[in-house]
C-alpha cells in the first residue's frame, strides 16, 4: 500500500466515536502501517458535532485529512453525515448509522431536522452502506454497542484480517463488556 487512505469519523459527542477511531488506528498499527489520528477534545464534547480523522499508509504526514480526499466517511448520525459529504472523494464511500439526533435548535422547535437524508446520501454516493445500528446493538444485547456494530460494518469494506479487529477490541474494551461487543461486531459485519 503506497498511498495514504483516509477515514473521517463523524457524529455527536457521547456516541463513542473516539473509541471507534482508537480501534481502527490500532488495527492499522498492528498491520504494520504508519497511522495518524486526530480529533478535538474539550467544548465539542458537550453534545456538539464531533469528527475524528484517521489516516494510514506507508508514511503519513498531516494528521488532518486534506480537504476533498476522504476515502470513507464513517458516520454515526445522519445530519452529521451530510455536513461532511463535500469532503469525500468523488469515488468515496459512506458507512452510516441510520439514526437521528436532534440538534438544540431542532429540539426546541426553532429549526427542522432535514428530511430525505438517506436518499440524499445514497444519491450522491451509491455504494453507501446504511447500517441499522441500534437494532443490531439491541440484538447483540446492549444498546450501547452501536459503535461496535458500526466498526463491524466498516471492517467489512476494509481489507484487514478479522483477527486484527478482534485483537484491537480486546485491547480497548473492558473485559466485562467484551462478549456483548464481539457479538455486536459480528452482527455489524454481517450487515454491511
Amino acid at each position: 500500500m503506497s498511498e495514504v487512505k483516509n477515514i473521517l469519523l463523524a457524529g455527536v459527542g457521547g456516541q463513542g466515536i473516539l473509541l471507534a477511531s482508537e480501534v481502527i488506528s490500532e488495527v492499522m498499527l498492528m498491520a504494520g502501517l504508519d497511522v495518524k489520528k486526530n480529533e478535538i477534545h474539550g467544548m465539542s464534547q458537550r453534545g456538539g458535532s464531533v469528527v475524528s480523522h484517521v489516516r494510514y499508509g506507508e508514511k503519513v504526514y498531516s494528521s488532518i485529512i486534506p480537504e476533498g480526499e476522504v476515502d470513507i466517511l464513517f458516520s454515526f448520525e445522519l445530519l452529521e453525515t451530510c455536513r461532511y459529504l463535500p469532503l469525500l472523494r468523488k469515488d468515496g464511500q459512506v458507512v452510516v448509522n441510520n439514526w437521528k439526533i436532534s440538534p438544540p435548535g431542532v429540539a426546541r422547535g426553532a429549526q427542522e431536522y432535514p428530511e430525505n437524508l438517506v436518499e440524499n446520501i445514497q444519491q450522491q454516493f451509491p455504494s453507501s452502506k446504511i447500517v441499522d445500528g441500534l437494532n443490531l446493538a439491541l440484538a447483540a444485547g446492549n444498546p450501547k454497542t452501536v459503535n461496535t456494530v458500526l466498526i463491524g460494518a466498516l471492517s467489512n469494506i476494509l481489507s484487514f484480517d478479522r483477527a486484527l479487529w478482534v485483537t484491537a477490541m480486546e485491547k480497548m474494551i473492558p473485559q466485562r463488556l467484551l462478549d456483548v461487543n464481539m457479538k455486536a461486531f459480528e452482527l455489524g459485519r454481517g450487515e454491511a
Binding site: K37, M43, Q45, G48, S49, Y61, S62, P114
Partner: protein, 584 residues
C-alpha cells in the same frame, strides 16, 4: 523498542518520565490537560493540580531549585497567569531541569483567544522547542530537560491542539537513572532576585541566548530535507506536516527550536532559493525574524494570521486553489455544545434571564449559559474576570442599573483567580452580587479535581475548601447557600440578593451530574403526560437536551435514557405534565 500510538500529550508525559522527572504540576486547560492525567500512571513522579498556573509554575520552580527535574504544563492563556514568575525564572535559571509545556489553540477550538505563545519565548528569553508529531513531542521533551540543565535555563515546549490531540507512532525507551538527586543548596546570588543580583544575571541571560543560537545551528532538530532544489520552505511544528503534504518537492528547513532561531543555518539555506516561503500558523514569528535578517520571503502576505492551517488551507492561501469545505448551509442545523441533562447550572441561568440580570460571566461549562435559549451571559474575558468586572461595571451605573449586575463563576475558576476579585468587592464596597456555581469539580476540561472537590489528581482524599467560610473570611456578610434544582427558591434568592445594596454571594450546592461519586441515589427520569401537555413550550426555555419538541404531536417529549430526573423542567410546567417514570 516498543512501537505504540500516543497522542502528543501522552508522548510529553512519557518524555518527562523517560527523562527522570520527579515532579509535575499544572492547572487543567484544553488542549494541555491530558498531559498530567497521563503522567499519574508513572508512580515515580509526584504530580498534582495547582489552583492556577502561577502556583503550578512556582511549585515547579521550587522543585527545580531543590534539584529535581520538573514538568509544568498549561494552555496558552495560562502563561499569562504564570508570566510573573516565568520572566524572573529566566534570570535565575534552574537547578534540576525545568520544562514548561504550553499548548496553544489555533482556531480557538476551546479557548477565548488565539494568542501565539512563541512570542513568550522571545519576550522572556526562554528557549522553545516545537514538535511536529508525537514522536518529536517525546524526544523534544527529553531533550528539553537536558538543555535546561546544560544552559541553566527553563525551557519551553510548545504544542498546539493538533499536536496534543493527534495520535501517531512513537517508540518507548526506559526511564533515565542518570539524574542528580535533590538536596538543599543555598545560592542566594543565583536565587534571590534583588536588583544587585538580577542586574548581573541579565548579562548572563543575553549571553545564554547568543550561545544557544550558535549551538542550535549544529543540532539535528534543525534540519534540511532536500527536495527538487527549486523552492525553499522554512517551517516548524504542525505546519511542517502540511508542507510535506502540499509541497512534496520543496526543500525544507524544518526548525525544531523556534527560539532562538538558528540564524546562520537560515542564512545559508535562504541563499540557495529565489522563491522562499515561511509557512507557520498564527503570528509571523519566524517570518519577522527572517525578514529582519534582510531575507525576503513569502509568508503572511499570503497565509492568514487567523485560524489554524490545514493541508487545504495552505493550497488555498498560497496558490489560490479552491478547496471543498463542510456543508454550512442553513438546511443543516448547527450542533453547538450545550449543558448536559441535569446540569445544576441550568436553573440558575433560566432565572437570571427572567430577572433581566446583566451577567458578567467566566470560563467553564457555565459559559454555555450564553447559548440560546438561556442566553443569560453578557461578558466572558478570562479566568476570574467575572468578579472584578462586576465591581467595575457597577461603579459607573445608576443605582437602578447597578442592581442588575451579577457575576457568575464556577468553583475552580473562583479559586483560580476569582477570590482576589471578591476581596476587592468587599474592600471597595461594591454592590454587585456574585454567584459561585460550586459543582465541586473542574468540569469543562473533563472533570479534574480541585481544592473544592475533596480529592487530589491521583484520586487520594484531600481537605475541601469551605466556600462559605472563605467568602465570610474575606468579609462578605450576606452568603446564601442555594439548591439550584429548586427553581422557586433560586428565583427568590437571586432577586433578593440583586436588590441588596451591599455585596452578597450565592453559593450553589449541586455537584456536576457527570461525577457519580457526589450524586445521591439516582432520581427516576420523567415523561410527558400527553393529556396534560398543552404544547405551550415553556419547558423548552431551559434548553435541556433531554427535552425535544415533537412538531407532529405539537408536544414536548422527554428522552428517558438521558433524563436525570433533576425536575427543573417539571417546575416550569404550569399544567403538571411532567411525571416520574414509575408513577403510572
Amino acid at each position: 523498542m516498543k512501537k505504540t500510538l500516543l497522542s502528543g500529550n501522552e508522548a510529553i508525559a512519557r518524555g518527562a518520565y523517560e527523562a527522570g522527572a520527579l515532579v509535575a504540576c499544572a492547572y487543567p486547560g484544553t488542549p494541555s490537560t491530558e498531559i498530567l492525567e497521563n503522567i499519574i500512571q508513572y508512580e515515580e513522579i509526584d504530580s498534582s493540580w495547582a489552583p492556577n498556573e502561577k502556583v503550578a509554575l512556582e511549585v515547579g520552580i521550587g522543585a527545580s531549585f531543590g534539584g529535581a527535574r520538573v514538568l509544568v504544563t498549561m494552555k496558552h492563556v495560562g502563561v499569562n497567569v504564570a508570566a510573573d514568575p516565568l520572566f524572573t525564572l529566566s534570570y535565575t535559571g534552574v537547578n534540576g531541569g525545568l520544562v514548561l509545556v504550553v499548548a496553544d489553540d489555533p482556531e480557538l477550538h476551546s479557548s477565548q483567544n488565539e494568542q501565539d505563545s512563541r512570542n513568550y519565548a522571545k519576550f522572556s528569553k526562554v528557549p522553545m522547542f516545537e514538535p511536529a508529531d508525537s514522536h518529536e513531542a517525546l524526544e523534544y521533551t527529553k531533550l528539553a530537560f537536558e538543555l535546561s540543565e546544560q544552559f541553566d535555563t527553563p525551557v519551553f515546549l510548545r504544542s498546539t491542539t493538533r499536536i496534543s490531540h493527534s495520535k501517531s507512532v512513537v517508540e518507548l525507551t526506559e526511564r533515565s537513572t542518570d539524574i542528580q538527586q535533590p538536596k538543599l543548596e543555598r545560592n542566594p546570588a543565583k536565587y534571590v532576585m534583588l536588583p544587585g543580583n538580577a542586574r548581573k544575571l541579565h548579562y548572563v541571560v543575553e549571553q545564554r541566548t547568543l550561545d544557544l543560537e550558535e549551538w542550535s545551528c549544529k543540532q539535528p532538530f534543525n534540519r534540511i530535507e532536500k527536495g527538487a532544489g527549486e523552492v525553499g520552505v522554512i517551517t516548524s511544528g504542525v505546519s511542517y506536516q502540511y508542507v510535506k503534504e502540499t509541497l512534496p518537492d520543496a526543500d525544507v528547513l524544518k526548525i525544531g527550536m523556534v527560539w532562538p532561531l538558528p540564524k546562520q543555518l537560515i542564512r545559508d539555506f535562504a541563499s540557495k532559493y529565489e522563491t522562499l516561503y515561511v509557512i507557520e500558523e498564527l503570528d509571523p514569528f519566524i517570518e519577522e525574524q527572517v525578514r529582519a535578517m534582510g531575507i525576503d520571503v513569502i509568508g503572511k502576505d499570503k497565509l492568514s494570521i487567523c485560524g489554524e492551517l490545514t493541508p487545504g488551507r495552505v493550497k488555498q492561501q498560497l496558490f489560490d486553489q479552491e478547496i471543498p469545505t463542510e456543508d454550512v448551509s442553513a438546511e443543516l442545523p448547527q450542533r453547538p455544545p450545550s449543558m448536559c441533562p441535569g446540569c445544576p447550572h441550568r436553573g440558575v441561568f433560566y432565572e437570571l434571564k427572567k430577572a433581566k440580570a446583566y451577567v458578567t460571566g467566566d470560563i467553564g461549562c457555565y459559559t454555555l449559559g450564553f447559548m440560546p435559549p438561556l442566553s443569560a451571559m453578557d461578558t466572558c474575558i478570562c479566568m476570574g474576570a467575572s468578579v472584578g468586572m462586576a465591581t467595575g461595571i457597577s461603579k459607573v451605573l445608576s443605582a437602578e442599573e447597578q442592581r442588575k449586575v451579577v457575576g457568575v463563576i464556577g468553583d475552580s475558576t473562583f479559586l483560580h483567580t476569582g477570590v482576589n476579585g471578591l476581596m476587592d468587592m468587599v474592600y471597595n464596597k461594591s454592590t454587585a452580587t456574585l454567584i459561585i456555581l460550586d459543582n465541586r469539580i473542574t468540569a469543562m476540561t473533563g472533570r479534574q479535581e480541585n481544592p473544592t472537590s475533596g480529592y487530589q489528581l491521583n484520586k487520594k482524599e484531600a481537605p475541601r475548601v469551605d466556600m462559605e467560610q472563605l467568602c465570610r473570611a474575606v468579609g462578605v456578610e450576606h452568603v446564601t447557600i442555594l439548591d439550584p434544582y429548586d427553581l422557586a427558591k433560586t428565583k427568590e434568592v437571586i432577586r433578593t440578593e440583586m436588590a441588596r445594596e451591599e455585596v452578597s454571594v450565592i453559593i450553589t450546592t449541586r455537584p456536576c451530574m457527570l461525577v457519580p461519586r457526589d450524586n445521591e441515589i439516582p432520581r427516576p427520569p420523567l415523561f410527558v403526560d400527553n393529556d396534560k401537555c398543552t404544547g405551550c413550550r415553556a419547558c423548552l426555555q431551559i434548553g435541556c437536551p433531554a427535552i425535544t419538541w415533537d412538531p407532529k404531536l405539537k408536544k414536548s417529549v422527554v428522552d428517558k435514557i438521558i433524563c436525570t430526573g433533576c425536575d427543573v423542567c417539571k417546575q416550569t410546567c404550569k399544567f403538571d405534565a411532567f411525571q416520574e417514570c414509575g408513577d403510572k
